[in-house]
């Protein structure tokens, strides 16, 4: 959506080596679009979750190289931005099934042995545009604490900024992704009620139930809908049951 410039000030920034006059108070994406840039690469969700708009930038006063999701970060006068539409990744192929006797932890360390070589320089944590303690989760993977690693890396948008900065050749987001999947598939308890529900789905009762509902005329169906009992918001999980159980199958 175009926003009205209102009382924006005009500032100059460099994008991919070229100068643009843009209104202040906008995100990099919206400011550059106002200045005539038409994005094809380096754009996706425009909502801060896909990582497509990852860029590195510097501001005049600061020696520190920073990274940003361009759809999230506001422009600053004099800044210089380099978009990173593509990054050569070290991403291993794997099967989620574990060979006999293999633990998820050992499997992930075999896929990404570099994780063991973290020199704790903290460059990754410093660069992460969504504020993740990357070094922290790398340590957790190395220690085998996958629960902690899954939580700490959960908001990762896989932008690869940290991997670009790592002197120890670690692909942090890819190691974390593998760790989360092995953790989810092998270390978290499965939902038992889900398997029970699956069994229920393929019974004769269920088929008959659907046939009955689909045969009802509109009035009958509306009545049934209006009379639905609603599960109380505060009820403890798996405890409440409706009085009328005919639709439970």
């Amino acid at each position: 959506m175009m926003m009205t410039p209102g009382n924006d000030q005009w500032i100059t920034i460099h994008y991919d080596g070229e100068p643009y006059k843009v209104p202040s108070g906008r995100t990099m994406v919206s400011a550059l679009e106002t200045a005539g840039v038409r994005f094809v690469r380096s754009i996706g969700c425009r909502g801060g979750v896909c990582g497509a708009c990852t860029a590195f930038y510097r501001t005049p006063e600061d020696a520190q190289l920073k990274s940003a999701l361009m759809c999230q970060e506001e422009v600053v006068d004099g800044m210089s931005i380099m978009p990173m539409p593509f990054f050569p990744q070290n991403q291993m192929s794997y099967d989620l099934e574990l060979p006999k006797g293999m633990t998820p932890q050992r499997q992930v360390m075999q896929l990404y042995p570099e994780v063991g070589g973290c020199i704790m320089c903290q460059e990754c944590t410093r660069i992460c545009p969504v504020g993740i303690d990357v070094m922290g989760y790398v340590g957790m993977i190395k220690r085998g604490d996958f629960k902690a690693a899954a939580e700490a890396s959960f908001t990762c948008v896989q932008c690869q900024a940290c991997a670009a900065r790592c002197p120890a050749r670690i692909s942090q987001p890819n190691a974390a992704l593998a760790a989360r999947r092995f953790y989810g598939a092998h270390m978290v308890n499965r939902a038992e009620h889900l398997q029970k529900a699956r069994e229920k789905v393929n019974t004769e009762d269920m088929k008959r139930g659907f046939r009955r509902l689909k045969r009802m005329d509109a009035e009958e169906l509306k009545n049934l809908y209006q009379r639905r009992e609603s599960e109380p918001a505060q009820s403890a999980p798996g405890t409440w049951l409706p009085e009328d159980t005919t639709l439970l199958g």
Binding site: M1, M3, G6, K21, G25, T27, S30, A35, G36, R38, F39, V40, R41, G44, R46, G47, G48, C50, A52, E74, D95, L96, V130, G131, F154, T155, L177, A178, R180, R181, F182, Y183, G184, A185, V188, N189, R190, A191, H193, L194, A197, R198, K200, V201, M206, F210, K214, A218, L221, K222, Y225, Q226, R228, S230, A233, P237, W240, L241, L248, G249
Partner: protein, 553 residues
Amino acid sequence: MSERALNHLPEELRESALEVARTREDRIRRIQRGESFPQLSLTDRKAWLEDFHPDYRADGKRALKVGVNKDEGVPVELANLLEAWPRASVRDLVENGRIPEADFETDVLIIGAGGAGVTAAIEAAKSGLDVLITTKLRAGDSNTIMAEGGIQGADQECDSPLQHYLDVLGGGHFSNDPDLAEALCHDGPDALSWLEELGMLFDKYPTGRMKVRHGGGTSRKRLHSSGDMTGLEMMRVLWDQCRNLRNVNVMEFCPIVELLTDDDGRVVGAVMERLNHGNEMKVVKAKSVILATGGLGRLHLQSFPTSNHYGATADGLVLTYRAGLPFRDLQHNQYHPSGIAFPEQKAGLLITEKFRGLGAQLVNRFGDEFVYSLEPRDVTTAAIIRECSEFSHGATTPSGNVGVWLDIPMIDDLHGKGTIEKEFPGRYSEFYRHGIDLTKVPVLVYPTLHYQNGGVRIRVDGATGLPGLYAAGEVSGGVHGKNRLMGNALLELIVFGLRAGRAAAEFASQTGSGGQAGLSHIESYLDDLKAADVEETRTAPMLLPRYGKALAI
């Protein structure tokens, strides 16, 4: 409340935000007494919708002049695309009268690498056939990755696919295709289990039991989530699974701009443009094709902002309409009740319904409730527009946008301190970076264009009216009828992605490669366009929206 927390708000909004804080205690007490704002009767719902929902505005739509759905009213912006000439690359092909040799050949072609496309690829690949995914931007760029709230599925003791079905039909105002709705609900538990096996991290109790919540219009707690980034987690896992498969290839920045058919009317491939190579045209041949191009939010119907990703430009609808496939329910689009109205850089982005699921109320500028917070989405949207237009009870931003407040801080009062941070880690830290503390201040919201309820007609296995062509996900219509309930789109893309993947693979393995690829299906369409006097400068599919104006130095 400390006034400092309100620092980011301009004067106009600060006063009103303080009002909200003042009425909060009272509202919380009412909830704790088990009282809630009365739900609307079906009659009132209908009246509010007709008077205030954007779908019902006469000037928002116009009747189509050409094609299978001729004379049917659809949103003006969409009508302009459905009645448009092919892109230059395709017109060249038409004029040449001959389709060149295929540049790429595959068994199953999948158009779009969002949730539905990738799910279909994983399933189709099981057959051992070659699968090619072509997608407009990067793989995973999609509405799927943006989903926050969760995925439905009837897996609790008090629930069943039948109960789910009843909710889906009621939410859709009983206009759904019953067979599709049945498939959706029936496959719910299987879909959740499939994702669980792929290692997707659901919010769970230590025993493994899923944490579930209510969503708008649900009679059971049935919404499963991964924090407030359910779509991101789902898309990451699906894509990781898919790229580990040897017989799946992907081409990024390669949107499809037209379907190819043979003399029997079977879909046998598609025309592609390479965005990174000056829109160079390429021909793809396939034994079967799955359309998974998602929705239309970036058409900005009636100038509404949108929550959708950059590529949501209705391309799939354009492709199929030209090929003679009928659609349904496209006059019904979902305007999510809670799009951000302030700060304006975030205008249109979503505040998930999960906030309301956990008790956050919608209140007007005086801090008063005006609608039950968990009505179906279209009703809530109508209520907000009513409150802001009919009664002028909205709060106004400096640039003149209006909105109502979503009182987020009350979640911590209801469920204990820390709940907001724990349940919404993504949103909390994102706002925090912008100097806004969601545990202290309400957020101004207004409806945003969110979801295409209707779409291409399909059967329960994803088959369309054209042999060889399947469709799944947001591009299809019928599952939700006129209105979708939260959490059913993520379920739909898994259920129908799997079904379409299976059926398309079966079709591809049982048939030969079909006849000569051609564009005969659009020739008569072009005649109709000419007869209807559609300007030849109007072309579609759009591929990418156009923003901003040239001011480069």
